[in-house]
């Protein structure tokens, strides 16, 4: 049984190779699984466990600690409304109520057509631009009920509410699960090399007193 698509399996292998211990890749791989399916399925957890050398229960144990991982289907667009202190002061709570009422779901709920999930969230680091909400983790600043209505209408009509090019991209709003649309890729000839910690026993080469080094950096150990 394989969960990851061929392309994602290659990404998974590359992600795992970036860490000295494979278990460190559990969270990145859960993100990848969520990107593929929109939420974290049982099959995904089994495969992430196999890839990282832990049990599926450990994957669930780690994953369930973090709010962003959904273990049940959610809407194509997850609308997160901040009601923490800075947003509260400027109408975050009213914005949440408007989202709940206009979409007809309570915080945590998903609309019947599977388009929107509304969530009340903690501070998303846009405090000077309060009140704010995010859709699939794309920010909408200084928002009010009208902003939310326009964004929802856009998404229902299949239009992107993001200003084209504002982000230096095509302005598309990806469906839930996709965070960064660009991944780090290290070409093999540029890689410094990731070594398991138990195999490293001495100081890195630029700290070692060695005649091979340039004179300016030679012969000085760490203070």
């Amino acid at each position: 049984m394989t969960f990851f698509t061929e392309a994602n399996a290659r990404i998974a292998a590359e992600v795992i190779a970036q860490y000295p211990r494979p278990k460190s890749a559990v969270i990145p791989l859960l993100h990848l699984a969520q990107e593929q399916e929109g939420w974290v399925t049982r099959d995904a957890m089994v495969e992430v466990a196999e890839l990282t050398g832990v049990t599926p229960a450990e994957v669930l144990g780690t994953g369930s600690f973090y709010e962003m991982f959904k273990f049940h289907p959610v809407g194509r667009y997850v609308v997160n409304v901040c009601t923490n202190i800075s947003c509260l002061l400027l109408g975050g709570e009213e914005l949440l109520h408007h989202a709940e009422e206009s979409l007809g779901v309570r915080s945590g709920g998903t609309t019947d057509d599977g388009m929107f999930t509304v969530e009340e969230v903690e501070c998303v680091a846009a405090c000077t631009e309060a009140p704010c909400f995010t859709v699939n983790y794309r920010y909408f600043h200084r928002a009010d009920a009208d902003t939310l209505d326009v964004v929802v209408a856009d998404l229902r009509a299949g239009r992107s509410p993001l200003a084209r090019g504002a982000q230096g991209d095509d302005g598309n709003l990806p469906s839930h699960g996709t965070l960064s649309r660009l991944r780090q890729h290290i070409p093999d000839d540029r890689r410094a090399g990731v070594t398991p910690p138990e195999l490293v026993t001495e100081a890195p080469v630029w700290l070692r007193p060695s005649p091979a080094l340039a004179p300016s950096t030679a012969g000085v150990a760490d203070a």
């Binding site: 200003a163 084209r164 080469v205 700290l207 000085v220």
Partner: protein
């Protein structure tokens, strides 16, 4: 989605470009590149002097770089304000490998600076990481970005790919023997992961729960049990400037105890909220809240009710503290903290009981559950405050709140506090019955609000049941 994009009216909708940053007068040490539209690209970064600090560092011995940073008295910008150069020195001799973990899990309510630094100037951060790795012999860097920050992740991924290709990261950096990989890692939504040992647990693939202390610093035992330096994004973003211009020049800004500048996110009921780069020690809270160069006062000419000087964990300040300088030492002496550079201003229309509840609710939700006093106590605090706000408060609730707080963060809270008496003696930094300061932080808004606005709590309790709250006589002296 092939349809043309809707154009939203100004101020509405998606405005990712440098949103929040206000270019005030004054020195620009970490935001110099922000005014450029393309500040996040390698071309713009190189054209404006990126990686010159790294080249200066590579011209020095690693130990000299460390000495320069120690000399600059660069204070950590994550909240605790511990000098980075001293923290760096805690790595035990002869234990290898050593790691760098960058704390980009900015989640403290009111705080919005690291996201901006990562989105607007990723190369500055990367350069800072490289300088730290070179100075201490750190063999791999993990850039832990908060999961919710999709744009920051994209910008950093692009910047890293460009920097690798251009020879600034990876093998034989700038054609020297210095080689280090920077791994971009995303979190997945947990405030507690901002605590450095929890960050390490998370990076190891575990639930993000803080580790038992000692060891107090992961510099001794950290990631994979190896010496690990954990630094905040803004701390590292200062390194390129320090290495380019020298520690002496850096100390020319700010005060002696807190040299340099800091980013402050000032939010809430001010006319011009924003992120400002502020010289430490020489600028006061009054300057930044009322100054024309900064927030330009409170909206509608309203009166100041209270302000939070350093993020949700910090005890609140009031009008009489307005003239304190923005300096960690002075703010601590006054019983609060500059914390993560987040100032939240509340005007006289604010319902402080509700504000207090919202902050407490945050800590209850974000408690990791490892320590009982925090796991249970924060939700008790939330429940008590909720029933007060809902009009079902009991006369005994105010004392009960302090009693619960006392079990999370022991302090001389008078059992029956009147007005200002006694509560002024609340210790700061707070004492802990817990492994990390999350739980104790939840007590700060309660003591702050109760100390000043007790009558507003009492009014909410009285309103529905008609019983006037009458506190017991104040104890002669608070128990030590």
């Amino acid at each position: 989605m092939p349809e043309p994009t809707t154009v939203h009216p100004a101020g509405m909708g998606y405005v990712p470009h440098a949103a929040g940053f206000v270019a005030n007068d004054g020195p620009k040490l970490v935001t110099s590149r922000f005014p450029y539209e393309d500040s996040y690209t390698l071309e713009r970064a190189l054209a404006t002097g990126a990686y010159t600090g790294l080249r200066s560092a590579l011209g020095l011995a690693p130990g000299e770089v460390h000495a320069e940073v120690r000399e600059a008295t660069l204070l950590g910008r994550g909240g605790a304000g511990f000098p980075a150069g001293v923290k760096w020195g805690f790595c035990p001799e002869g234990v290898w490998p050593r790691y760098l973990v960058v704390n980009g899990d900015e989640s403290e309510p009111g705080t919005y600076k690291d996201r901006l630094l990562m989105e607007r100037d990723p190369h500055q951060l990367i350069e800072g990481c490289l300088i730290a790795c070179y100075a201490l012999g750190l063999s791999q860097c993990f850039l832990y970005v908060r999961g919710e920050m999709a744009l920051a992740q994209e910008r950093l991924a692009a910047a890293l790919n460009d920097a690798y290709a251009a020879g600034y990261v990876g093998r034989n950096i700038c054609d020297t023997d210095f080689s280090v990989d920077i791994t971009l890692h995303w979190g997945a939504g947990a405030y507690i992961v901002g605590e450095e040992t929890a960050l390490i647990e998370s990076l190891e693939g575990n639930r993000g729960m803080p580790r038992l202390k000692p060891p107090y610093f992961p510099a001794a035992i950290g990631l994979y049990g190896k010496p690990t330096i954990v630094n905040n994004v803004e701390t590292l973003a200062n390194l390129p400037w320090i290495l380019e211009h020298g520690a002496a020049a850096y100390k020319g800004y700010g005060s002696e105890a807190s040299p340099g500048t800091r980013l402050f996110a000032i939010s809430g009921h001010v006319v011009r909220p924003g992120i400002y780069e502020v010289e430490q020690g020489v600028t006061t809270f009054r300057d930044v809240i009322y100054g024309d160069n900064f927030c330009q006062g409170i909206r509608g000419g309203n009166d100041l009710k209270a302000f939070i000087p350093g993020g949700a964990s910090a005890p609140w300040f009031f009008e009489e503290q307005l003239d304190l300088p923005l300096e960690a030492r002075d703010v601590s002496a006054a019983g609060s903290m500059l914390g993560s550079g987040a100032i939240v201003v509340m005007d006289h229309t604010t319902d402080v009981v509700k504000a207090c509840l919202r902050v407490v609710q945050f800590f209850a939700r974000e408690s990791c559950g490892k320590c009982t006093p925090c796991r249970e106590g924060t939700s008790w605090e939330q429940q008590i405050l909720e029933r007060i706000v809902d009009g079902y408060g009991r006369p005994s609730d105010l004392d009960l709140l302090l009693d619960v707080g006392d079990n999370i963060s022991p302090g001389p809270y008078p059992v029956a506090a009147h007005g200002d008496d006694g509560l002024d003696a609340v210790p700061f930094p707070p004492l802990q019955t817990t492994i990390c300061p999350l739980g104790p932080s939840s007590v700060a808004p309660i003591t702050s609000a109760l100390r000043r606005f007790r009558s507003e709590f009492e009014a909410k309790i009285t309103r529905r049941d008609g019983i006037t709250v009458r506190s017991a006589p104040v104890a002669e002296e608070a128990p030590a």
